[in-house]
Amino acid sequence: MNQPTALEQILITTKVEKVMNWSRATSVWPVTFGLACCAIEMMAAGASRFDFDRFGAGIFRATPRQADLMIIAGTVTYKMAPTIKLLYDQMPEPKWVIAMGSCATAGGPFDSYHTVQGVDKIIPVDVFIPGCPPRPESLIYGFLKLQDKIMTSSLADRYKDIFEEVG
């Protein structure tokens, strides 16, 4: 499976997929969703000095239905977890998640009774960004990594689990 077969190489589907990936990577609209300290840095990343909009990610959509990306900016608590799961389920495919900051990554400093130790216990995460809170530059770097990931992703990979299940 490592080397594409001759048939796969000439198939036009790969090219279509490339264009699809390019369009998805270029226009990634995040959902307006801040949890804690990282949300302030996320806002700063959208503001004048850092300007998230340069990369096509400036249109923050208030409703998950129209968003492609969820930036989990802050601590996920036990009370909040079902809501985050619901929001994630409400987003239409294809969707991505950035876990911003150590809280969303692994609970961060808050090793306490009410803090979920990492948002990846609830929803699948594409990019983890360390820092407490990460600087806006880190967020932009993480976002560029996400773009790389989207550009190199393939439909077959994305739905491998489902395909395997179906058989």
């Binding site: 969703f33 804690a36 503001a47 004048s48 802050g74 009370k79 306490s112």
Partner: protein
């Protein structure tokens, strides 16, 4: 044939104008709010419990993350509460630097309030302008303690280090241009008809109600009560500073806007005085490496940008951890008045009410 049906609607926890994860349960009759109940706890991280299991020194990093918009003010309250618990006298230079950073932080916090409040009401450009100036303040933070937001600026007994070289120049440069920036915001908002229509007479809270509900900070001062802890119970170097406590009597959203804008001017004034009158000397008191208190309980309140932030500490003899660590968060108490402000108003007014309270869920839920 016709029947009146009330609609129940959930504002949040994910909503563009709840400033984080506040959830407000509204009952609407058309667009009018008949019942309003804020539900909090979506960011409850157990700060108090964690701090009770950490040493006194370690407690500071959690205070940063409570009210993340004004971490320095939280640090200051925490440091002073600890100093009260142990009976430490802080050197004068450290007091001045603390005062100055605290006022810079007040500016940053008020700028975030202005940005989000204006965005909630629909003026999106002010958001970007306010963040532009806030970045300069964060640069100052970064120069002093290496961090933008979660500063961990102070230590029990003083400061970890003196001001870095060049800080004063940076600060003066910022102050020189800040006045024009303030005028820029005011040009966009103060005399704007729509802004006035959206804020005057909206979310009123009389002085009696505010005091009964424990509301402090600019919300109380906008109701005509000149209660500012910096004046009433001076701490740090505020006793030596010459500043005014701006008040308004209208007690509505516009009055709070005016109070906060005036407060920003006063903060700039205090910073100027700190820079001019900065004393020389050490910045750290002589204290042992391990602090063990005697049996004591203290409640120390300081004036955070959002209101009175109080730290309640109980010291256990021979223990390095606080026996009890409790924070009187201004946002937690202030948010109680939201139903009073919102009931009977329109759905757009609750957005203004949430914005004008200047809440940060990190400190409300702790």
């Amino acid at each position: 044939m016709f029947k009146n049906e009330e609609m129940e609607i959930n504002l949040g926890p994910q909503h563009p104008s709840t400033h984080g994860v506040l959830r407000v349960k509204l009952r609407l009759d058309g667009e009018t709010i008949t019942h309003c109940k804020p539900i909090i706890g979506y960011l409850h991280r157990g700060v108090e419990k964690i701090c009770e299991n950490q040493t006194f020194f370690q407690g500071q990093v959690w205070t940063d993350r409570m009210d993340y918009c004004s971490a320095v003010a939280n640090n200051l309250g925490w440091a002073e509460a600890n100093e009260k618990l142990f009976g430490i006298t802080v050197p004068r230079r450290a007091q001045y630097i603390r005062t100055m950073l605290n006022e810079f932080n007040r500016l940053a916090s008020h700028l975030i309030w202005l940005a989000t409040h204006a965005l909630d009401i629909g003026a999106m450009t002010v958001f970007l302008y306010a963040f532009r100036e806030r970045e300069d303040i964060l640069d100052l933070n970064e120069a002093f303690c290496g961090s933008r937001l979660t500063t961990t600026a102070f230590r029990i007994g003083g400061l970890r280090e003196d001001l870095p070289p060049g800080f004063e120049k940076m600060a003066r440069k910022f102050l020189a241009k800040f006045e024009t920036c303030l005028e820029e915001y005011e040009n966009l908002l103060s005399e704007n008809r729509i802004w006035k229509k959206r804020t005057i007479g909206v979310a009123k809270l009389s002085a009696e109600d505010a005091i009964a509900l424990g509301v402090t900070g600019p919300v109380l001062r906008a109701a005509g009560v000149p209660y500012d802890i910096r004046k009433a119970f001076p701490y740090a170097a505020y006793a030596e500073m010459d500043f005014e406590v701006p008040t308004q009597t209208a007690a509505d959203t516009y009055a709070r806007y005016l109070v906060r804008m005036a407060e920003m001017r006063q903060s700039a004034r205090i910073v100027q005085q700190c820079l001019d009158g900065m004393p020389e000397g050490p910045v750290m008191a002589k204290i042992p490496k391990i602090l063990k208190p005697e049996v004591n309980e203290v409640y120390h309140a300081t004036e955070a940008p959002k209101g009175e932030i109080g730290y309640y500490l109980v010291g256990e003899k021979g223990s390095t951890n606080p026996y009890r660590f409790h924070v009187r968060a201004p946002g937690f108490i202030n948010l109680q008045c939201l139903p009073k402000m919102a009931e009977g108003a329109l759905i757009a007014d609750i957005v203004a009410a949430i914005g004008t309270l200047d809440i940060v869920l990190g400190e409300i839920d702790r």
